[in-house]
């Protein structure tokens, strides 16, 4: 394990175990991720990668163990509280907000971030301010739309702000979901197979966005089946198999690890 | 005090037996289609009104009862074919509203056909009331309890020992796999409506001699039926039976001790408590995502 000063650690996963009935999905998984690094999470199908993301983001509560962000315990908090504290994620199947346009989808993220962590949100963004159409609120909403457009300008979705999300192609959905996640300026970003279903151009776009996020000091956790791409972008890699951590290290170390090769080949032969 | 309490319990057992039949219909449809059929109580209304109005023309009660159950089954089939099947692409809430529409439409149809006057139906057998530990049970109560026994035994045997029953259980456990084995889910959905309607109609026929039959009886019966179904566990037939009896007894005891107005209210308070504390019901398996 790479030694690191505790202050540099953003996300701390400690002894996480997750059981569903008799099935063990995760067994004593622990690692740390620092801001400004991409941590690849590898493993064959059923290794527990998505369960790990669910535990970190608060979708599921672990049977044992805990997750902390900068020393603040996340375990036991709801998904939206975890997000407000700085951990956001994407999903294997992109979750679209049907009924909203691309710009509005981003504005939802920006508005959530605006009130982020402040519970309850201030009166200026509550039901009354919105319903009464208060000028401050309207101005703030207009500003959100402008910021949404500015964020879109840097992506493949530039000039698509008015498109209803229903009309997006699959790759565009992935890119919108990623843009949404980045809009809340997270400390930790969990990406669940962000490359699957994308064409080569889109894959490059997403990898560029991941590198840009790293440069911004975000800790990116990346689950990805495309092992080549994952190893090319990751700074460190954690390998799971049957819910256990079987290897951790730099991409080069992991790629050469016979245990890892065995796990992958073994599973492919099964 | 104790004597009247015991009498309430006996009355509750009889009411509960009726609720159990209607609850069984809910469970059948829910198991096969994942749908809560808000129109379930109207099948009982159709059964009760058909039997009572035919008997009023001089037809022997048992013959009228038989035709009434067939009429209810026919209504069930029509409900499925005209309202549920055409909307099979719809999502959960839309289907809820559709069965709600069925409930309203059937009650209105009942009003057209039979008017607002109540119909009486003679008890199926004469004979003196039976006394159990000082409590009184009318002969009709034995018919009701006997019907429960037959219906639930038949359902048990069907699901346990017939090919079709096993196939339904497989389909419920794992729909995608079942359809790859060629199990026709849509046919099952059709037959689940017919069976649920027939059983509900039978419940209506049985209760008519006790409470009289009116076009609006289906609402209260249907509501009680699904309180019983939720109480027992929406996916459990034994749960429907247990839930029916528990609800019937609680209602009659509460009604007797507080006031009859609370008979219905107490049932719904229980429903809300169960939904929040134990959504899978007393005997249901771990909650299916509803």
């Amino acid at each position: 394990m790479t030694a690191s000063a505790p202050s540099a650690t953003v996300l701390d996963v400690r002894g996480v175990t997750m059981r569903f009935g008799g099935v063990v999905a995760l067994e004593d998984v622990g690692f740390a991720a620092r801001g400004g690094e991409v941590l690849g999470v590898m493993g064959p199908n059923g290794a527990g990668k998505t369960t790990l993301f669910n535990v970190i983001s608060g979708v599921q509560r672990p049977t044992r163990g805990e997750v902390a962000l900068g020393g603040v315990r996340l375990t036991g908090r709801s998904v939206d509280r975890v997000a407000a504290l700085g951990v956001t994620r994407t999903f294997q199947t992109p979750v679209m907000f049907r009924g909203l346009t691309v710009r509005e989808s981003l504005a939802v993220a920006l508005a959530a971030h605006e009130s982020g962590g402040a519970y309850p949100p201030g009166p200026e963004r509550g039901l009354l301010a919105c319903g009464l159409g208060m000028r401050g609120r309207r101005r703030a909403d207009a500003a959100l739309a402008e910021r949404a457009d500015a964020l879109l300008a840097g992506t493949a979705l530039a000039s698509m702000g008015d498109r209803p999300t229903e009309t997006l192609a699959f790759g565009e959905e992935r890119i919108l979901e990623l843009a949404r996640a980045l809009a809340v300026r997270p400390a930790v970003l969990l990406l669940d197979e962000p490359l699957s279903g994308l064409n080569p151009d889109e894959i490059q776009d997403v990898l560029d966005a991941v590198r840009a996020a790293r440069a911004d000091g975000i800790a990116v956790l990346l689950v990805e089946h495309a092992v080549g791409e994952l190893l090319s972008v990751a700074d460190r890699v954690v390998v799971l198999d049957h819910g256990r951590t079987i290897a951790q290290g730099t991409p080069a170390q992991v790629a050469a690890d016979p245990v890892v090769i065995d796990a992958y080949i073994g599973d492919e032969l099964e | 005090m104790i004597a009247s309490l015991w009498q309430y319990v006996l009355a509750g057992i009889v009411a509960g037996a009726i609720y159990a039949l209607i609850a069984a219909g809910f469970v059948l449809i829910y198991q096969v289609t994942g749908l809560i059929n808000f129109a379930q109580g109207e099948f009982a209304m159709v059964g009760a009104m058909t039997a009572a109005s035919l008997a009023a023309t001089g037809m022997p009660p048992l013959a009228a009862a038989g035709i009434a159950v067939l009429a209810a089954a026919l209504v069930g089939a029509l409900c499925y074919l005209l309202a549920i099947r055409p909307a099979r692409a719809a999502t959960g809430v839309t289907l809820i509203f559709i069965t709600l529409g069925l409930d309203v439409a059937l009650r209105g149809a009942g009003l057209f056909v039979w008017g607002t006057n109540p119909y009486a139906l003679e008890a199926f057998s004469r004979g003196r009331a039976i006394t159990i530990f000082g409590g009184v049970l009318q002969p009709q109560a034995l018919w009701v309890l006997g019907t429960d026994l037959l219906v639930f035994a038949a359902l048990y045997l069907f699901f346990r020992y017939t090919y079709a029953g096993t196939a339904v259980r497989a389909a419920v456990a794992n729909p995608p796999i079942a359809s790859t084995f060629g199990i026709p889910l849509r046919t099952f959905a059709f037959w689940s409506f017919i069976a649920a309607a027939a059983i509900g109609g039978l419940g209506g026929v049985m209760v008519a001699p006790i409470t009289q039959a009116t076009y609006e009886m289906g609402l209260a019966l249907g509501l009680a039926g699904f309180v019983a179904a939720v109480l027992g566990g929406l996916d459990s037939l034994p749960g429907a039976l247990l839930g029916g009896f528990v609800l019937g007894i609680v209602q009659k005891v509460a009604g007797g001790l507080l006031s009859t107005g609370w008979e219905e209210g107490i049932g719904f308070l229980i429903l809300v408590l169960v939904l929040v504390l134990r959504p899978q019901g007393l005997l249901g398996r771990a909650a299916r995502r509803a």
């Binding site: 009924g99 | 719809a90 709600l100 209105g108 699904f226 929040v276």
Partner: protein
């Protein structure tokens, strides 16, 4: 000047002004129908926010109408409080009841939420029936009307009041759905986990919307009590809750004007049926129009699941 259908407040006021004009030439029975359309439209508007935008379902909305009606009526009858303040009290009471119930009901979804709201609606109705202080099953009568200065409201004034309240309601709702609040609501109902992962507090949004829908219902109920000067528990039963769902669905649950269209449809069709059907079928009595309502509800859901207004706006776009 071109008014877009999004100009909710101005158009609402325009309609209220139109109502204020026509009530002088309209026979008084039609005036009563206009009042009902305005009040039911207000309830349906709240329901559209909760069902169409927040993606939930309520089969107990009539109970909130009842809470508003009973609060205002009981205060007026027992303490002589003016219905103006009674309406405020009715709205607050409905909001309070909804707030408390939300902790029970809003933990559930779809099927089970439908059941829970239905059950809670009926329990509230049982309370109306059993609470002798508010008249029990015989209800409250001789409920005082609204007055402004020395002027006591007649049917015409109530029609205008109802439509003014609707205008206020749709103005507020219109602002809401086009604000960040409304967008967050749509996001939560379309992709709950995805929105939560961005920090959107769905539970809070749903609760607020539920309470708001109860306020709309409570206001309508309070005015209803004074318009008819008599209420009893049967006025606020399950059948009325179903009719509110019908209004929402007919107009389209994600359309604010749809609430008014749905309310008008149900009120007018009910009146037509009550006039026409007995002429054809002399035996028809009671609430037989419900049969047609049920059939229409099913037909709309099968062929026009987004409601009548969706077809209108599609036609306009084409």
């Amino acid at each position: 000047m071109k008014l877009s259908s999004q100009a909710y407040g101005p158009i609402g006021l325009l309609l209220a002004a139109l109502v204020a004009a026509v009530v002088w030439v309209l026979p008084s029975s039609y005036t009563g129908l206009l009042t009902l359309i305005g009040l039911y439209g207000l309830v349906a508007l709240g329901l559209n926010l909760f069902m169409g935008y927040a993606g939930q379902v309520s089969l107990g909305q009539a109970a909130f109408v009842g809470v508003g009606a009973y609060t205002s009526a009981a205060l007026a009858v027992k303490t002589g409080l003016t219905p103006w303040l009674g309406t405020v009290a009715g709205a607050l009471a409905a909001a309070l009841v909804a707030y408390v119930l939300s902790f029970v009901a809003l933990r559930l979804r779809e099927n089970l939420l439908a059941l829970a709201t239905l059950a809670l609606g009926i329990v509230i109705n049982v309370v109306f029936n059993e609470w002798e202080f508010i008249g029990g099953s015989s209800g409250l009568k001789d409920i005082p009307g609204f007055a402004l200065g020395g002027y006591v409201f007649d049917q015409r004034a109530y029609a205008v009041l109802a439509w003014l309240l609707f205008a206020l309601g749709i103005w507020f709702a219109g602002n809401l759905v086009r604000s960040s609040f409304g967008r967050a609501l749509i996001a939560i109902s379309a992709g709950e986990l995805g929105a939560q992962a961005l920090g959107v507090d769905g539970e809070r949004l749903r609760r607020q919307t539920f309470v708001l829908s109860a306020i709309y219902a409570g206001v309508a109920g309070a005015v209803y009590a004074s318009v008819f000067s008599y209420i009893d528990p049967t006025s606020f039963g399950f059948v009325l809750s179903v009719n509110f769902v019908l209004m929402s669905v007919i107009g389209g649950i994600r359309s604010l004007w749809g609430a008014l269209v749905g309310a008008a449809f149900v009120v007018v069709l009910g009146q037509v049926l009550r006039t026409v059907v007995p002429a054809v079928l002399p035996n028809a009595r009671g609430e037989f129009q419900q049969f047609f309502f049920g059939v229409i509800l099913i037909a709309i859901l099968i062929w026009l699941p987004k409601g009548i207004t969706s077809r209108l706006s599609e036609a306009r776009r084409a």
